[in-house]
Structure formats: structure tokens, C-alpha cells
């Protein structure tokens, strides 16, 4: 009896945390989404969400989040693979993680300097004869900087999956006459798929609601649902509409988690 009591006592911080910081906010967001700007109960926000403006915004958020995830994956997978082959794995891994310790805002400001008209990149392009290009405030710079910021989060789970891969399986594939490509396609990739899914989740979901980079790096030429939420809460003070968009983001994220969710197969 005594034992059960102490165990319940240890549960208190955890339960409080979940209740206060996970469940309560979600309920509040849901609750606020049912009020219009005058504070009356209504479904107008949901009606507004299904207008071309917000649907277009949702599609564009999706598109950019998809591109960011795709490019992160394309860079991260080979990197993680090479990492597992290096001698000082942990050191290399550390070097990749270190940039993520630096504040996001600082990194974004650094890119303003790097990509600017008189920045390092354009000086280089000028020197090799291509001439100055507009890099800042384009889709390219937005996706580039986002990928740069998210890449450590993509590399880590893939690296772990690759690292845990039993090398004898690859030897077996070779012995049985599989080409390198077949080995990758039929053995390595399926066995690291869980890592890839985890990486995609960690990148895609935050990418969906990026809002600071859309202003700093994309100069508001890219508008995501995150931008709209920020504006509704801070400028318009239309908490209802902001919450409604947040509700849809939560639903989208939930769907994405379910689709990419890992079902542990019995071993």
C-alpha cells in the first residue's frame, strides 16, 4: 500500500506537467477557436478557414515544408551514411550538432549578411564572373536556410538507425550476389526506414509553422500558417481566428504523425 502511494506521488509532477502544459493549452486553443472577433460564440472562424486565402496558405505551407523535408533528407542521408564509416564518429557528429546550439535568430541574421547584395556569396559570384544575383528574399534562400537549420535533426535519427544496423547483414547481401545498389535498396534503406520517418517528423512538423524565417530570410514573400497565427495573435488580436488555424495545424500534424508513425513489428 505504502509502495503504491509513493509511486503515485512520483507521478504528480509528470501528470501536472501533462495536464498544465499539454492538455490545457490544446483545450484552450480549441475553446478560443469558437469565438469570433467580438467575443461571441460562433463557427465563423472555421467558415473563414475554408476560403481561398487560407486554403492557399495551407497548400503553400505544405509545399515549402515538403521541400524543406525533402532537401534535408537528400543531404542528411548520405551524410549520416558517411558518418558511420568515419573513424571518429562521435567527433564528427558533435561538429554537426554544435551549430544547433546557436540561437536561431543569430543564425538568421548571419545569413542576412552572407546572402546580401554586398555579402560574401555575391562577392564570390562577382569574382568568378557570374555577377551579383538576388539571393536574399527568394524561395531559394528560404529553403536553403531552413534546410541548414533543420539538418542536424534529420541526421541524428538516421545516423542512429545506420549505426545500429548489423554489418553482417550487408556482408550476407554481398555474399549472395547483390549489387551495391540492390543492397542499399533491399537491405540498408528498409532497415533504416524508422530513422528516416523519425527525421521527417522532426523536420516537417516545425517547418509547417515557421514564421520568423519567412520574414527575415524570405522578406514575407513566403507566407505560412505560422505567419498568419502570429499576426492574428499579436496585431489583429483576433485570437479566435489564430486559434482556428492552430487547430488545423494540430490536426495536420496529428495526421502526419499517424501516417509516418512507426509500428513496431514483433521480432
Amino acid at each position: 500500500m505504502e509502495n503504491k502511494l509513493t509511486r503515485n506521488l512520483y507521478m504528480v509532477p509528470y501528470a501536472l506537467w501533462i495536464a498544465l502544459f499539454v492538455i490545457a493549452p490544446i483545450i484552450l486553443v480549441l475553446y478560443y477557436s469558437f469565438f469570433d472577433i467580438e467575443g461571441n460564440f460562433s463557427l465563423i472562424n472555421y467558415q473563414n478557414f475554408f476560403t481561398p486565402v487560407y486554403l492557399k496558405m495551407t497548400l503553400s505551407s505544405f509545399w515549402y515544408a515538403f521541400l524543406i523535408t525533402l532537401f534535408s533528407l537528400l543531404v542528411a542521408y548520405p551524410t549520416a551514411y558517411l558518418l558511420t564509416k568515419t573513424k571518429h564518429k562521435q567527433l564528427w557528429l558533435l561538429l554537426i550538432i554544435v551549430p544547433s546550439w546557436i540561437n536561431l535568430l543569430l543564425k538568421a541574421y548571419a545569413f542576412l549578411g552572407i546572402f546580401g547584395t554586398y555579402g560574401v556569396t555575391n562577392n564570390f559570384l562577382e569574382a568568378i564572373g557570374i555577377g551579383t544575383q538576388q539571393i536574399l528574399f527568394t524561395d531559394f534562400s528560404f529553403i536553403f536556410v531552413s534546410v541548414y537549420i533543420f539538418i542536424p535533426f534529420m541526421i541524428l535519427p538516421i545516423f542512429n538507425a545506420l549505426n545500429e544496423l548489423n554489418p553482417t547483414l550487408i556482408d550476407a547481401a554481398n555474399d549472395l550476389g547483390a549489387s551495391r545498389w540492390t543492397t542499399f535498396r533491399r537491405v540498408i534503406f528498409p532497415l533504416t526506414l524508422d530513422g528516416v520517418k523519425a527525421g521527417c517528423q522532426v523536420v516537417f512538423i516545425p517547418a509547417l509553422s515557421l514564421f520568423m524565417l519567412t520574414r527575415l530570410i524570405a522578406g514575407n514573400r513566403v507566407i505560412t500558417l505560422g505567419t498568419a497565427i502570429e499576426q492574428h495573435f499579436l496585431v489583429t488580436q483576433d485570437w479566435g481566428m489564430g486559434s482556428t488555424i492552430a487547430v488545423f495545424l494540430i490536426i495536420i500534424m496529428f495526421l502526419f504523425m499517424t501516417i509516418t508513425g512507426t509500428r513496431k513489428r514483433g521480432i
Binding site: 506521488l9 514573400r221 507566407i223 505567419t227 483576433d238
Partner: protein, 357 residues
């Protein structure tokens, strides 16, 4: 559970002890609400020598704190943790603070220097009769441009911005009222227009400006324009003054169609303890010579008519920051349009941002 209660009680007792200690410390060094004055102002917005002079003249101790946005200031005052005696919000924030009942009325008999303020800046719609606020500095929204980069092309009006020659050269500030306002002004409508038809037209007109717009950014605009990232920017006159200080190729113009006129104002928030001192300070800042010295230091436009005679002539005659009476006629102060209309402005602004080249 007992343990938890004990921990909780310990936290409460510790907080009370700290509170007591702070109180004792404050009174030990002579900080009490009678002879200290806590001022809450924007950063870089006062000549520090004037604070010293005020302390010398009145024997009061000034505690000076700064904020960087009206919203941040509002939040701090709502919380009420610090006893701010003076705050300096912009005019639209005054309307909001009045709605939330956060301001104390001013006693005009204690502010004889109020007569120094230019009549044009007295009794404005956001505070009829100046019952709660006194203007501190004012300014406009306009166009900053780089003479070197534009060559001999002139910009004098909003409509000049639509010139195809300025392709990809314009940076805008990220403010719904300012940008939709530019659209309204360029069509000859009022900045406070709430006619949906007019607003739609303004938005459609703004869409056609898209090829010329390089980006819509926040405070970074100061750095970007000073670094010549773009040749033209839509900014507040105060920011323009900062940029021109950084880069001497820059020039500023208040567009001929008219524009916004904004004010930062001294108020006494509900948190005030030293109300007498707050009045003394406001009256001190309204003194002609003091205002002149402060204006020279801050380099914004002063509403103090008497101060102008103590200021250098080139400063007073600079039409970029003290526009001619004809142009001033066309400047409008933002009215509080209400949440619903503000939401409409924001929706249109969002749609404008989503319009691609």
C-alpha cells in the same frame, strides 16, 4: 503530499522574505515613492543630461527604464509589478490603454508649460482635451531613398513608387495600417477609411506594386537600407533619421498625397506612486529650452512650438522633418478603427503579402 506542502510553504516564505528585504534595502538608500520617479520610455529617446538636471532641480531620484515596442510596454504596465510614474506610448496605444482603464488623468494646473505645445498637436482625436496625455515627439510615415543609387530620379509622391524603373528596389515595413494606408493615400482616400470598396481598391492597387517590392521586413529595414540592400524604403520618419545618420546618401520625403502623422506621448499610468513628481517631470520636459535640447539630441520632430526658437535653424527649416503647413494639412492621425476594421486591414494585408510576382 506532506512533503509537497512543505516545499510549497518554503517557496512562499522565501518569496515573502525577499520582498521584505527589497523593501528594507530600498528605504535604506532613500528610495521611497515620494522622492523617486520611475520613467518608462523608448530606447535612445531622451538626452541623459536632462535627467541629471531634473534630479538636481527637484532632488528626486529618477529610475529610467526603456522598452522597444508599445505592446511590450502595455504588458509590463498591465502586470503592474513596477511602479512606473511616466510612460511614453504611441497614440494608438493610448486609445487601447484608455479602453483598459490604465491611465490617470492629468492635472493641467500643474502643467503651465502645456501652452508651449503647438496648437496643431493639441486636442487630437485619440485624447480629446489632452486629459490623459501630452505629446512628446511626433513624426510621419514616408519614403527613404538612396540618391546615389537612384541617380537623378526624383521621388515626391506615393505614386512615384509604381514607376517600372524601381523594379525590385523597394523595402516595406511589416505593418498593416502603414502599407494599406499607402494604397489608400495613393488613391486619394483617407488613412482611416473603412469603406470595404475603397479598401479592396487599395489592395488591388498595392498588388500591382508587387514587381517593385523586394521584401516586407521588420526592424531589419534600418540595417538593410543603410547597407544599400535596396534603394527605397517605406519607413517612419524616426527610423529614417537613424538611417540617414548611418548612410549620408539617404534622403527622406513625406509623399505629396499625404501620409500618417504619429505621436509618442507622455502619460501617467495607473501604476504611478509619485503623481506629483510625474507632473513635475512632464512640465519640466515641456519647458521650451529643455525640449529644444532634447530634440537636438534625439533628432525627432518636437511638438513644442516655443522650443523651435532655441534650435539650430537648419534643423527647424528641414521640411523633411517639419513639413510645410500645406503638407501637414494632408497628414492624418490613425484613429482607433475598432477590432473588426483592424481585422479587415490585416486580412487585406495578408492577401497582399501572398500575392506573388
Amino acid at each position: 503530499m506532506n512533503k509537497l506542502i512543505r516545499v510549497f510553504a518554503a517557496v512562499v516564505i522565501a518569496s515573502l522574505l525577499l520582498l521584505f528585504a527589497i523593501n528594507r534595502l530600498n528605504s535604506a538608500v532613500g528610495f521611497s515613492s515620494d522622492n523617486t520617479l520611475t520613467i518608462y520610455n523608448w530606447g535612445d529617446y531622451i538626452d541623459d543630461d536632462l535627467i541629471d538636471r531634473f534630479e538636481e532641480e527637484t532632488g528626486m531620484k529618477v529610475i529610467y527604464e526603456t522598452f522597444d515596442s508599445n505592446e511590450a510596454m502595455l504588458t509590463k504596465i498591465q502586470q503592474g509589478g513596477t511602479t512606473y510614474d511616466i510612460a511614453v506610448p504611441s497614440e494608438y496605444m493610448i486609445a487601447k490603454m484608455l479602453e483598459e482603464d490604465l491611465l490617470l488623468p492629468l492635472d493641467h494646473s500643474k502643467l503651465p508649460n502645456l501652452k508651449n505645445i503647438d496648437e496643431r498637436f493639441i486636442d487630437l482625436p485619440f485624447d480629446p482635451g489632452n486629459k490623459f496625455s501630452v505629446p512628446y515627439f511626433w513624426g510621419t510615415v514616408g519614403i527613404v531613398f538612396n540618391r546615389e543609387m537612384l541617380g537623378d530620379m526624383e521621388i515626391t509622391s506615393w505614386n512615384d513608387l509604381w514607376d517600372p524603373a524601381f523594379e525590385n528596389e523597394i523595402l516595406l515595413i511589416d505593418g498593416a495600417r502603414e502599407i494599406i494606408g499607402m494604397g489608400l493615400n495613393s488613391l486619394g482616400y483617407s488613412l482611416n477609411d473603412t469603406n470595404v470598396d475603397h479598401l479592396e481598391k487599395a489592395k488591388a492597387k498595392l498588388d500591382t506594386l508587387t514587381p517593385n517590392i523586394k521584401a516586407i521586413v521588420g526592424d531589419e529595414i534600418k540595417m538593410l537600407i543603410a547597407n544599400e540592400e535596396a534603394a527605397i524604403g517605406l519607413v517612419w520618419s524616426g527610423d529614417a533619421a537613424d538611417m540617414m545618420w548611418e548612410n549620408e546618401n539617404l534622403d527622406y520625403v513625406v509623399p505629396s498625397e499625404g501620409s500618417n502623422l504619429w505621436f509618442d506621448n507622455m502619460v501617467i499610468p495607473k501604476t504611478a506612486k509619485n503623481i506629483e513628481g510625474a507632473h513635475q517631470f512632464i512640465n519640466f520636459m515641456l519647458d521650451a529650452e529643455v525640449a529644444a535640447q532634447n530634440t537636438e539630441w534625439v533628432s525627432y520632430s518636437t511638438p513644442n512650438k516655443e522650443a523651435l526658437q532655441y534650435m539650430p535653424e537648419d534643423m527647424v527649416e528641414d521640411e523633411r522633418f517639419y513639413p510645410s503647413p500645406e503638407l501637414t494639412e494632408k497628414l492624418e492621425v490613425y484613429e482607433n478603427l475598432g477590432k473588426k476594421n483592424l481585422a479587415l486591414y490585416n486580412d487585406l494585408f495578408l492577401q497582399f503579402k501572398m500575392h506573388r510576382k
